[in-house]
């Protein structure tokens, strides 16, 4: 009897190949039919600070959430054990490097002072010493199996066999922890080799060396093979995409027909543009897909404004950024609104304000994106709950932008951006490219024709047609006009287009209800809380509370009717909002747009993702007590 669901942490210093371990392991698991989701947590640092991968594996489906405690902690260094030893469940397993057993928590400079003293205090309270050996003792006392191996021995042997320069030996530590994790989970060596081959691709020597490392690990740890064996997979996947949120959005942009992407480097958005650059043009079966001009601009101001320029030339254009960059783009968004220019801004939120927690996640920019930019004009804000939603929503973002000629903000976050998941291949049969292009009427072209809310849009360069654009209030030709009657008509047109979006976009794309209505509670949220919210709803059902999760996908225009209908059906009782922010601002947006008062709120703003265990607990607390606000904060 194995495990159908299992969660683990791989930890080590930033820059030591941890991400490679994640890539290899997730591919090996996917190859054998397991579902994986893995979050990457790291400091704003290139080399040396503690980072870790928090992974959920399932033999039944793609896991939707992360949880604590974990069954397995695989550590590259002592810092990982000190930081996460409390996260291992009793009966779980720790894999560690024997060579660092004497290391004391007080000797590790990369641990932040406040954390170091907290760990030292915790150890003291447990009656343990400050060295790793003492922590191992504590763990064993809790029923954790501790498995040590000398990394040095493995690496020295590798060095001798392959004549590797000692200075580059540390890059093989990743192979040690990947192999030991695979061994403990009961993965076979062929699957592991597949993972190495997929990740190292053409670098055959690296594959050979890592396979050699795996063989050494297998020899050494033979007796532990399959200690945490996963159940035989019941998933029905025959092919899966193994991709991060950044990758998935980039893929969707290519499918959607993106032709211009501008960006200024910022975490956690830049990887999307890198991906697009890699796939900027392809030729398949005689068809050219692309080209996409991907340009690294001098700042985010140039990023948004050049994307708008490309849009005026008739191409699908977008930019990808995070909070600090978005703030710089806001004036451009106002120009796009004024000139009815379609453009998509992919916005990966991170912890603010200012530089905040630059490599950690948040959902604290909801109100700032819904209400960004001066003046009043139609603008749409979309969010996505998971990788697959993000794919379809990216296409939707371009369709809405072009059909209604307005800026669309696709509001995502670092959690989605940096987590890797196994997802089914998107169903392209469902995808439509709706550009809203109508033939230009004969006669003198009026770009801002007032006959309808949506004027016929001709790209710059259309033969025989000329047009003007201006950020000033303008007449139908796009020439400056301050005349009051024209002002009223033009100003209203640009605002009232939003009604069309509200009326025409199908309800299912604006708000989605999960679970059976008529239960005890309604959990409401948006974006990346979806997976953990769904799991928490399932989990709490086991404790006797039946409820639904309402995923608000279109944040602006707010799906007022749709939300009111759901709440009417569920009786308005026990509505709980959850968000990665202090304010849980979706509740305030709902109050403003739909007149709904949501008192109960679950907030997390540590920059770490909401995990299943803490959300279930918090939800139970809000349902069983008078407590309205629960702040959760688990995770290192």
């Amino acid at each position: 009897m194995g495990f159908s669901e299992l969660s683990l942490i791989l930890g080590g210093p930033q820059g030591s190949g941890l991400e490679t371990s994640m890539l290899v392991l997730s591919r090996a698991l996917a190859y054998r039919g397991y579902g994986v989701v893995a979050d990457r947590e790291y400091y704003s640092n290139i080399v040396g600070r503690h980072s870790y991968i928090h992974m959920s594996i399932s033999s039944k489906r793609t896991p939707r959430s992360l949880t604590y405690p974990v069954k397995l902690l695989v550590s590259m260094d002592a810092e990982t054990v000190f930081t996460h030893f409390k996260d291992i469940e009793s009966g779980g397993v720790l894999f560690y490097d024997k060579d660092v057993r004497a290391k004391k928590v007080t000797e590790i400079p990369s641990i932040e002072e406040s954390l170091r003293s907290r760990i030292a205090r915790d150890l003291k309270a447990l009656g343990a010493g400050e060295d790793l050996e003492s922590v191992l003792g504590v763990l064993r006392g809790r029923g954790v199996t501790t498995i040590g191996m000398s990394f040095q021995e493995i690496l020295r042997d590798l060095m001798k066999t392959f004549g590797i320069d000692p200075r580059s030996l540390s890059r093989y530590v990743s192979g040690i922890i990947t192999s030991s994790a695979a061994l403990l989970l009961g993965l076979d060596r062929e699957a592991l080799k597949y993972g190495f081959e997929r990740v190292f691709a053409a670098r055959a020597k690296l594959v050979e060396q890592n396979v050699y490392v795996a063989d050494s690990v297998w020899r050494e740890l033979k007796s532990y093979e399959g200690l945490l064996r996963l159940d035989y997979p019941e998933t029905e996947f025959s092919e899966v995409l193994v991709a991060t949120g950044n990758d998935v959005v980039a893929i969707a942009k290519i499918v959607a027909g993106l032709r211009y992407q501008s960006y200024y480097p910022i975490t956690p958005a830049a990887d999307e543009s890198f991906f697009l650059e890699k796939y900027e043009v392809s030729e398949v079966d005689g068809t050219i897909v692309g080209p996409i001009v991907v340009i690294q601009t001098e700042d985010e101001i140039a990023a948004i404004n050049s994307a708008i320029g490309a849009s005026l030339a008739g191409v699908r254009s977008s930019t990808a950024t995070s909070g600090p960059g978005f703030d710089l783009m806001v004036e451009g968004i106002s120009w796009a609104g004024m000139n009815e220019a379609p453009v998509v801004i992919t916005y990966y939120q991170r912890g603010g304000p200012s530089t905040g927690l630059p490599t950690r996640g948040s959902q604290s920019d909801l109100l700032s994106s819904a209400f960004a930019a001066h003046g009043e004009f139609a603008k749409v804000v979309l969010s996505s709950g998971d990788h697959l939603d993000a794919f379809y929503d990216t296409v939707l973002a371009f369709n809405i932008a072009e059909k209604y000629q307005l800026p669309v903000i696709h509001l995502l976050d670092k959690f989605l951006a940096n987590s890797t998941a196994t997802i089914p291949l998107p169903d392209l049969g469902r995808v439509r490219i709706e550009r809203g292009l109508k033939p230009v009427p004969p006669g003198t072209y009026k770009r801002f024709n007032l006959e309808a809310l949506i004027s016929p849009r001709a790209p710059l360069g259309t033969p025989g047609v000329i047009m003007w654009y201006t950020g000033d209030e303008h007449d139908e030709f796009g020439h400056i006009s301050e005349e009051p009657e024209n002002r009223v008509r033009m100003y209203s047109k640009r605002i009232e287009k939003l009604k069309l979006v509200d009326e025409e976009v199908p309800g299912d794309l604006k708000l989605r209800v999960y679970g059976d209505e008529g239960g005890d509670f309604c959990l409401i949220g948006w974006g990346s809380v979806k997976g953990v919210a769904l799991d928490a709803v399932d989990e709490i059902a086991k404790r006797g509370f039946r409820g639904i999760y309402v995923d608000v996908k279109m944040l602006w225009p707010f799906p007022r009717r749709e939300l009111l209908e759901v709440l009417r059906r569920s009786g308005f009782g026990n509505v709980v909002a959850v968000e990665h922010s202090y304010g849980v601002n979706i509740a305030d947006l709902a109050a403003m747009a739909a007149g709904v008062q949501i008192r109960k709120r679950i907030a997390k703003f540590t920059g770490r993702p909401i995990t299943l265990s803490e959300l279930t607990q918090a939800l139970e607390k809000t349902l069983t007590s008078d407590v309205d606000r629960v702040v959760i904060s688990y995770g290192g």
Partner: protein, 317 residues
């Protein structure tokens, strides 16, 4: 103005102050566009904010009147998306060298085939005459309560240092010369910059038409002045000469071409070495969907393009 290049004149009333240097610039634009026989539907004037920002409305070609300082980014997006368009930026000195200075430098680095025309009048006119980035230190125009305590930037020097491959100066009321410089700038392949000395009759009582009329002289009258880089090895010495010449200001002010270098690759060429099909197949000319709204990328192509991310499941038997 009437009768000269009238086909490019729009029917929008020109609302600059009587006597403004911008009239000279506008006339030269009409004449240059006519001489170049530009197709109005394939030509785009992109402007920023201020008096110069209104220029596109007066010209019968596509006009994009953008944000303060941001004309160059807009123009960049337009040009890259559709390389068949002729794109000309008009901006003031506050716009291009103050709030938009970063973009001005970036365009030089890219050497994208865009023309930038600077309406250089030393003041922020539409906000009533504040000092602009080209007003010299200690200058006190009539609108300023106190003398200027910020130093001026030298537009020609900055353009050469930034990598523009065509750098020239003209004077708003030297009609024929200005028209010719604009024609050459449009013909040049790569980032072209034209600094136009432009009297502001309302707010700048120092750099007046009388001031310039006495001082400007034409570089092309000097048979020894050769601003053209013919091979890469000449680049540094020609740059230094252009920079030295641009420092000449006071009793004599040179106008004409300071620097031309066609040995540097354009951004379009750099892109085409990467994208191969560009600029022939470009963002504006490429297809993204079929007649029935289906994306070009279907299930079969998807698997081929993104094979690196696809894992074919092989469960153990």
């Amino acid at each position: 103005m009437e009768g000269r290049g009238v086909s490019f004149k729009s029917d929008v009333w020109v609302d600059w102050c009587p006597g403004c240097g911008n009239y000279g610039i506008l006339t030269a634009v009409f004449k240059a566009f006519a001489e170049l026989k530009l197709d109005p539907s394939k030509t785009v004037i992109v402007s920023g904010i201020g008096c110069s920002g209104k220029l596109p409305h007066f010209v019968n070609v596509n006009g994009v009147h953008t944000l303060h300082g941001r004309a160059i980014p807009f123009a960049t997006g337009i040009k890259l998306a559709n390389p068949e368009l002729t794109v000309v930026v008009h901006g003031g000195d506050g716009d291009l060298l103050g709030i938009g200075a970063g973009h001005f430098v970036a365009l030089g680095r890219r050497n994208l085939d865009i023309v930038v025309i600077l309406h250089n009048n030393g003041v922020y006119g539409l906000t009533k005459g504040q000092a602009s980035p080209t007003l010299p230190l200690d200058a006190k125009t009539k609108a300023l309560p106190k003398p200027n305590i910020q130093q001026a930037v030298n537009p020609i020097m900055l353009a050469v240092a930034s990598g523009y491959t065509f750098v020239a100066r003209s004077y708003a009321f030297e009609g024929e010369h200005l028209k010719n410089v604009i024609v050459d700038a449009v013909k040049h392949r790569g980032a072209a910059f034209v600094d136009i000395l432009q009297p502001c009759v309302t707010f700048n009582d120092i750099f007046t038409s009388e001031y310039y009329r006495k001082r400007v002289y034409r570089l092309d009258k000097d048979p020894d002045w050769d601003p053209v880089v013919r091979k890469p090895e000449e680049r540094i010495s020609k740059m230094l000469k252009a920079i030295e010449k641009s420092a000449e200001w006071g009793e004599r002010i040179p106008i004409g071409v300071f620097y031309v270098d066609s040995t540097v690759s354009t951004y379009e060429e750099r892109l085409s070495s990467r994208l191969k099909v560009y600029p022939k197949v470009n963002p504006a000319s490429s297809v993204i969907a079929s007649e029935d709204l289906r994306p070009v990328v279907d299930d079969v192509k998807f698997k081929k393009i993104f094979s690196d991310l696809i894992v074919r499941v092989s469960k153990r038997v």
